[in-house]
């Protein structure tokens, strides 16, 4: 999603623009257990999923409003038996559709039939460059071989190949190996997305966050690989997402609240980003209201539009138009109040919490086995009554 925001330069409508990006989280079900999953901790509490007809209605309403990019995500979207049908509908409506998958549950036949139905892109996620670490992080013994096979099938079927690696302290030393693997597979884009700390990743932050030294080494290796690829005339692009916790200014999260992105969760809850569910805000549901009403009229989507909600130091800050005070979810998780400046900002009175996390990362020793894996059993421990 970072590529979208960076390429929409100068796109800052004065009124409320349309949601150009619709993320359909089809399900929270997933065969993997990645301990950095961005799904809510209590996902297992949400058992109802929108029906095929309800999703089709959501897709139509979104497209009518102007959404052009559509992501099918989850959980693992492949567990939905109607995925092919939804892809065909998306193509018919004129969306550019992206399937964001672990590759588990994918088959050569599905890769081909989805292409025929009009799917534009399949992004396969990996956990590491080797099977041992990959499978340990994913909590699955056979994941790596399946991912490799599916990455090759995606390429053969003529899709652009986008591979995604979530980076954390246990795989951050693998940059050269990861790039070499992607080179062998013939990737067009490689997302090296350093873990951001929401959902399960926030719960596991101490066990995931790299030290500054690890991060700097990784960035250096990525830059070296970029220079080499350019020299070789390769079109493979490396996208390295640096973690917020090592920034001094916050990111313009989602390009502003309710500005471009609209996420619909498996149960129909509409959100301005896929993490926002954790905020103490009442979000509307597509079962009760149409998307147009949700986007323009609902209190949830208007909650952090504009800047009248901002407390100091954001209110009088000359950068508030640029970063909108950062990420509301991060402010909530770290300060208990989502109105506050994102503590990533060095002007935030809570910035010491970021500094403490960095310091902890310098001294962390926990192994992978100590992380809390994302699965229904662990999720039930987080239910709020």
């Amino acid at each position: 999603m970072t590529s979208l925001t960076s390429s929409l330069t100068g796109q800052k409508p004065t009124g409320i623009g349309p949601p150009l990006w619709l993320l359909a989280e089809l399900t929270y079900r997933c065969p993997l257990q990645c301990p950095y999953c961005s799904n809510p901790l209590d996902f297992a509490q949400s058992e109802t999923e929108l029906s095929t007809e309800e999703w089709v209605r959501v897709l139509r309403q979104g497209r009518e409003m102007g959404a052009a990019q559509l992501g099918f995500s989850g959980g693992e979207p492949l567990v939905r038996q109607d995925l092919g049908e939804l892809i065909a509908e998306a193509r018919h409506l004129g969306y550019y559709s992206n399937l964001i998958t672990s590759g588990l549950g994918l088959t050569q036949a599905k890769v081909e039939s989805f292409a025929e139905a009009g799917l534009d892109h399949i992004q396969v996620s990996f956990q590491a460059s080797d099977p041992e670490l990959n499978n340990a992080v994913a909590g699955s013994r056979k994941a790596f071989e399946q991912k490799l096979a599916m990455a090759r099938a995606v390429k053969e079927a003529g899709y652009p190949m986008v591979l995604n690696f979530v980076i954390h302290r246990h795989n951050i030393h693998q940059m050269n190996d990861i790039v070499a693997l992607c080179d062998r597979l013939g990737a067009d884009y490689v997302e090296l997305a350093t873990c951001q700390y929401y959902g399960w990743a926030f719960k596991n932050r101490e066990g995931l966050m790299p030290s500054r030294a690890q991060l700097e080494k990784a960035e250096h290796e990525v830059n070296q690989n970029r220079a080499r690829l350019l020299d070789e005339g390769s079109a493979m692009q490396l996208i390295f997402v640096t973690p917020d916790y090592y920034e001094e200014r916050p990111k313009p999260c989602m390009n502003g609240w309710g500005s471009l992105f609209l996420t619909v969760a498996p149960d129909g809850t509409a959100l301005p980003c896929h993490s926002a569910r954790l905020l103490p805000i009442d979000f509307p549901n597509v079962r009760d209201k149409d998307l147009k009403h949700i986007w323009y009229e609902s209190s949830g989507f208007n909650h952090y539009r504009g800047d009248s909600w901002m407390p100091e130091p954001c209110r009088s800050c000359d950068e508030k138009e640029k970063d909108f005070g950062g990420c509301r979810c991060q402010a909530f998780l770290l300060t208990g109040n989502a109105d506050n400046a994102d503590p990533v900002c060095s002007k935030s009175p809570h910035h010491d919490r970021i500094l403490a996390a960095r310091q902890a990362a310098d001294h962390a020793t926990a192994g992978i086995e100590e992380l809390t894996y994302r699965n229904a059993g662990n999720s039930r421990l987080f239910f709020r009554s």
Binding site: M1, S3, L4, S7, L8, Q11, P18, L20, M65, G66, A68, Q69, G71, G94, Y96, N98, D120, H121, Q123, G158, Y159, P160, V162, D188, Y189, L230, D231, G233, A235, Q237
Partner: protein, 97 residues
């Protein structure tokens, strides 16, 4: 860096969109966009007009002729078209053969 002279765009080159790139008109944005994996570029009018001519069949020269016929008041367009196509190639939106 690749040798620029060697890589200069020739009028006989045939541009085509790179795999995974789709060019389309978006009514809600009143303009053409280029869509690609998880991304979108909003094109201005001239970029839209040039990319709209790319069909993987016609060469740069044909595209220039088409645009000069469509916009007679603008005069010779070859240099502008080649400059833009070069930018599009550097952005990895298109390939030339």
């Amino acid at each position: 860096m690749a040798n620029l002279a060697e890589n200069a765009i020739k009028t006989t080159d045939i541009p085509r969109f790179r795999r995974g790139f789709r060019f389309q008109w978006e009514p809600a944005q009143s303009g053409h966009v280029l869509l690609y994996p998880e991304g979108m570029v909003k094109l201005n009018e001239s970029a839209g007009a040039i990319l709209g001519e790319i069909d993987g069949q016609r060469c740069v020269q044909d595209i220039v002729a088409e645009l000069e016929a469509a916009f007679p008041q603008t005069g010779a367009l070859e240099a502008d078209v080649i400059e833009f196509l070069d930018h599009a190639r550097q952005q990895h939106w298109i390939e030339l053969s």
